[in-house]
């Protein structure tokens, strides 16, 4: 019974120590002599750019990967984890960035799956202690992303975890959810757990952590006391000596007036994908869509690309550059319009993970017509190499499966593939999610360059800073409807609190597809 064991171990202190962990993939050292430790009752931040080796390091600690050399010590005695099962048994739990939940099951069923019948009492107590708020009897599909995350944490606690690894936990949260989340982390610490927090967001790490370990190119470049280190020091430790923050080079050219994407009274009835939208995006313009996740944003892309199911019941029109799309098939559209797509989930929607970069270049909606005869593999490989160099994708010259690239580098590769073909329309969802600071800047640059070149950009993001930085206009989407539109104010910025209010305005009232609160819809230009 893991629960009982957990009760007994509760008071016991626990220390996990990594000593000189080294791991190489295809002769590239992903981790090179990594050492640090974490004690129960503290939060250790683990920061670093994409491909710095954070995930590899945690995967070794969690038994996913066996280190080439080096040791892991639990309370001073050496352990070897050959599978996550063994590390869970040792009291280590990991919450992945991509949740591992079954949508039709309830929270309680999940807990009983991992911890047996007695899970409920333990879970209820843990929820009270930690300030978790959601209904254990509700199905996972009805929980918000933040609540699903709480369930994931609860799962590892019920498995008896004393050390909890969180991989980019705030990346999926909306701005209003972040502060309560950090508070829950503090409570987790008070209850005697050790927390390892992997993050890109230095301010969050500085606010909540006790100590911060910084990684760069597979090494630990420093372990700092959070109370006495500044964000600047961390950043230079992350990026190396003499690196200054990249400044936005591209200025914002005047937005165009010729509409590129135009959705008029577009309506897709009921079900999960209910949409009721009128919007327009002009050339040389970025329209940001703000909204709590799951309010129909992904359906926006799917109907434009003509790949949503049940399209037969739609009404209204979608046109790109004056061309009506609703009569065309998905294939015809990609031939007619150059659309660059940065999908919501790059792994499942944008890449063939087992393919090499050259193969993945082919998986772009826009391919030169010369590919239709014989595939120019040598040219494709060359282009892939070029992209890796130009977009600073690590490791350089990679020709193995893209599965082994880190998440941020996969994203950079996608950006290169999609944005390098001079798109007329850019559909970008969370373009910098899970991407480090410097690469985010580069991706933003790329999007701005495409915009200035004349592309219409529809940008969906849950990162308010990103929306405010890039967008010419911001539209707020709630339950499949545009409830309000914001323009840049006289100072050049957006009214962020008002956007936040609009995002949650309709959220509590009515059912999906029903009456919505907030402002009347229709934000066409």
């Amino acid at each position: 019974m893991p629960l009982l064991k957990n009760e007994h171990t509760k008071a016991r202190k626990m220390r996990i120590e990594l000593r000189d962990l080294t791991k190489s993939f295809a002769s590239v050292a992903a981790n090179d002599g990594v050492s640090f430790h974490v004690d129960s009752g503290e939060i250790l931040g683990l920061v670093g750019e994409n491909g710095a080796g954070k995930s590899t390091c945690m995967n070794m600690l969690f038994g996913h990967i066996v280190p080439d050399s080096g040791t892991i010590l639990v309370n001073g005695s050496e352990v070897r984890f050959r599978s996550p099962k063994e590390s869970i048994k040792a009291g280590i739990g990991m919450v992945h960035q991509h949740f591992l939940l079954a949508l039709p099951l309830t929270g309680l069923e999940h807990l009983e799956l991992v911890a047996g019948r007695g899970a409920k009492a333990h879970a209820v107590k843990a929820m009270r202690d930690l300030g978790f708020e959601f209904d254990l009897a509700a199905r996972v599909e009805d929980l918000s992303v933040g609540q699903q995350q709480q369930l994931e944490i609860l799962k590892v606690i019920c498995q008896g975890a004393r050390v909890i690894i969180l991989d980019e936990p705030t990346a999926v949260l909306t701005p209003v959810e972040v502060e309560p989340f950090l508070e829950r982390l503090r409570r987790l610490r008070e209850s005697g757990h050790a927390v390892i927090l992997i993050s890109h967001k230095l301010d969050e790490v500085l606010r909540v952590c006790d100590r911060i370990a910084v990684m760069r190119s597979g090494r630990v470049t420093g372990i700092y006391d959070a109370a006495s280190v500044s964000a600047e020091e961390l950043a230079s430790s992350m990026m190396g000596e003499g690196t200054t923050r990249v400044k936005a080079k591209t200025s914002r050219m005047e937005a165009g007036t010729i509409p590129v994407l135009k959705m008029t009274d577009y309506h897709l009835p009921a079900g999960r994908g209910a949409l009721d939208v009128s919007l327009g995006v002009n050339e040389r313009e970025i329209v940001g869509i703000a909204g709590v996740e799951g309010n129909g944003q992904e359906w926006l892309f799917k109907v434009i690309l003509r790949i949503a199911p049940r399209l037969r019941s739609e009404s209204g029109s979608i046109s790109v550059s004056g061309r009506e799309l609703t009569h065309l098939s998905a294939r015809e559209i990609r031939r007619a319009v150059r659309i660059a797509l940065l999908p919501f989930d790059r792994r499942s929607e944008g890449l063939l993970l087992d393919g090499d970069p050259a193969t993945n270049l082919l998986l772009s909606g826009v391919n030169p017509s010369s590919y239709r005869r014989v595939l120019p593999w040598s040219l494709l490989r060359l282009r892939a190499l070029e992209f890796f160099a130009k977009y600073d994708i690590l490791p350089p010259g990679w020709t193995g499966p893209v599965r082994l690239l880190s998440g941020g580098n996969q994203q950079k590769f996608l950006v290169a593939r999609e944005m390098e073909q001079e798109p007329a329309l850019v559909l970008a969802a969370h373009p910098t999610r899970g991407v480090d600071f410097r690469s985010s800047q580069a991706i933003h640059e790329t999007i701005m360059v495409a915009r200035n070149r004349g592309a219409a950009v529809l940008l969906i993001s849950s990162d308010m800073d990103e929306l405010c930085k890039l967008s010419d206009r911001i539209m707020v989407m709630v339950r499949g409807k545009i409830v309000q539109e914001f323009k840049r104010g006289p100072d050049g910025g957006f009214d962020v609190p008002a956007v936040g209010m609009a995002m949650v305005s309709g959220a509590q009232s009515g059912s999906f597809g029903g009456a919505t609160g907030g402002m009347p819809g229709g934000g066409a230009s």
Binding site: S55, N59, H64, I65, S83, H96, Q97, H98, D167, L305, I307, S329, A330, R331, I333, R334, R335, L341, P343, S348, E349, G350, L351, L352, L353, D354, G355, T359, L362, L363, S364, G365, N367, Y371, R372, R373, V374, L375, W377, R403, L404, G407
Partner: protein, 357 residues
């Protein structure tokens, strides 16, 4: 490097060789348990498979249909589909070719009885086209039902197997039955359609259809590796969601894949029908279609590897025939045991795929 790691990297690098070795090990262990010396058994099988030119020829004869059916399953597999209907597509294709040959022979007796080059080339081409077309049509039915109606291809293609058998039996017995035999077979095809055996195999009917099998494998390999169509099929198989997002009509790719698979399976019977027997016999296929699944699985869906894989299974089939006479305790069924073990180990997941995030 520790011994365990060495073994692991061997298995990782050569999964198919591992499957063959372990499969033979367990199969021959079964022979040993039955009271035979496994080395003796192995040498009998080896000699019977490739011992003389005739034996080698017969092995190639058995290899021919397996190349086609293996390719058929492999094509579907690469597009993410499981073609269990190769058996049905094969008998339909074979029947179509036979029917065409018989009709044509009745219509143009002089031309059909000529055995000079031009009529024979024409005959071969016509038969091939008819077999591929009808087999492809049968595959397309399954593909259409999967792509546009959501019926699982395994279920529909199994059911089509029964239909195909029933239809061909009826055609053989009611429409093309031979008047001078009691056997369930059609009249013999005219000379122009009969494939000539190559010399050098002491009379074993290795024909142009074996060469056609090799060529088909080459063509399929080129299509998959070098053309956009092949890439679209592969993308559909590897990640249909991503394929859809990039504008590929995955339903269409499934239909193309199944039609291609059906066409390849349709050709599988021609070596036996036009090369060996010269007529369609009910039950001529000793489960070539189903063995094709094993062939494709061992080849990992790679078209060129299918040739080697088909040869292995062909040799196993031929080699085991002599076990009936040469040993006391085992029969040709040992081939099935070895085959089963090889497939078991070929489909085994030796390693857990580690999630890297």
């Amino acid at each position: 490097m520790s011994r365990g790691l060495l073994l692991k990297s061997f298995i990782f690098r050569w999964p198919w060789l591992t499957a063959i070795l372990t499969g033979f090990f367990f199969g021959l262990s079964a022979a040993a348990l039955a009271g035979e010396n496994p080395f003796h058994v192995m040498s009998i099988m080896l000699l019977a498979a490739v011992g003389t030119p005739y034996d080698l020829g017969m092995t190639l004869v058995y290899t021919t249909p397996l190349i086609f059916s293996g390719l058929s399953v492999a094509v579907a597999y690469r597009a993410g589909l499981f073609n269990i209907g190769a058996e049905g597509q094969l008998v339909l294709g074979g029947m179509a070719a036979t029917a065409l040959a018989l009709r044509f022979g009745a219509q143009f007796p002089q031309l059909a009885s000529s055995s000079s080059f031009a009529p024979m080339a024409l005959g071969m081409m016509l038969c091939g086209l008819a077999a591929a077309f009808i087999g492809g049509l049968a595959g397309l039915i399954t593909g259409y039902l999967r792509a546009r109606r959501g019926s699982h291809e395994v279920v529909t293609s199994i059911m089509l197997n029964f239909l195909a058998t029933a239809i061909t039996s009826w055609l053989v017995l009611e429409k093309f039955h031979s008047v001078d035999t009691q056997n369930p077979e059609t009249r013999p095809v005219a000379a122009a359609f009969k494939a000539v055996a190559f010399g050098g195999f002491d009379g074993a009917p290795v024909t142009i259809w074996f060469v056609a099998g090799i060529l088909s494998a080459l063509i399929v390999a080129i299509v998959f590796d070098r053309t956009l169509l092949g890439f679209h099929l592969r993308a559909t198989g590897e990640n249909s969601v991503a394929a859809t997002f990039s504008g590929i009509d995955t339903g269409r790719q499934m239909m193309i894949a199944m039609a291609l698979a059906g066409a390849l399976a349709g050709l599988a019977g021609l070596g036996d029908i036009l090369g060996g027997a010269g007529r369609y016999r009910i039950g001529f296929s000793s489960d070539y279609g189903f063995t094709g699944i094993a062939v494709a699985l061992l080849a990992g869906g790679r078209p060129l590897a299918v040739i080697a894989s088909a040869f292995l299974f062909g040799a196993l089939h031929k080699g085991a025939l002599d076990l009936d006479f040469e040993t006391d305790h085992v029969t040709r069924d040992l081939a099935m045991i070895i085959q089963g073990c090889v497939i078991l180990f070929a489909s085994a997941r030796w390693f857990h795929r580690k999630k890297s995030s």
